[in-house]
Point group: C2
Chain length 118, copies 2
């Protein structure tokens, strides 16, 4: 029941903040799922067209743009860059998995940082 | 100008996908900014109330929930867990910065994985 209290219950303000965090996390997960749907298509398109997987110029533009967006949102721009690199590492893992004949990435496996199909 | 072509221009399908990726990335950056606003408040609230920063039970619940959400969205659940750990590492860095007298996190510094104020 709403408002019901337990002994040692967390303060209502903390509970409110956690509910917001949980909502934001759900949104983040769904956006990430959609982003990987896009990058999978990019990988497949590049493979079909014989385009090179790497595009360092595109990556530089993305990082610059995200850092500017981060500044505007008062998010540490260095964190924005780390975040993009974290995502790209996963994209590379997906592409390696596809190249190795798997449709979905394995939950473990070697990973390396390189420019690929963002 | 929209639709203008360059020699060696990327295929329109790739350009469309990249525009979607750019939109998703902007949304991700803004959601992350909002998430860190929430966790900063959590950190301040816990400091004022004298609550312990760590809450391993809360973390376990978050991971389980995000993995289930990831499955529903066809995102690798292991990636969802890694993503949460990546974010939490940054939250800890923010809290360490606040504890050391800084309002905003430095762009570099030691980092360790621990339970803290999610």
């Amino acid at each position: 029941m709403a408002g019901k209290k337990r002994a040692g219950a967390i303060p209502p303000e903390l509970e409110q903040l956690r509910e917001s965090i949980d909502n934001i996390d759900a949104a983040l997960i769904h956006l990430l799922a959609e982003r990987f749907r896009c990058t999978r298509q990019v990988g497949e398109l590049k493979a079909v067209r014989g385009l090179p997987p790497a595009d360092p110029g595109r990556e530089r533009v993305m990082i610059k743009r995200l850092k500017a967006l981060a500044k505007g949102a008062k998010l540490d721009p260095e964190f924005a860059e780390k975040f993009l690199n974290f995502i790209i590492a996963e994209v590379i893992r997906h592409h390696e998995s596809i190249r190795n004949g798997g449709r979905h990435p394995a939950s473990s496996g070697p990973r390396k940082r390189a420019s690929s199909n963002r």
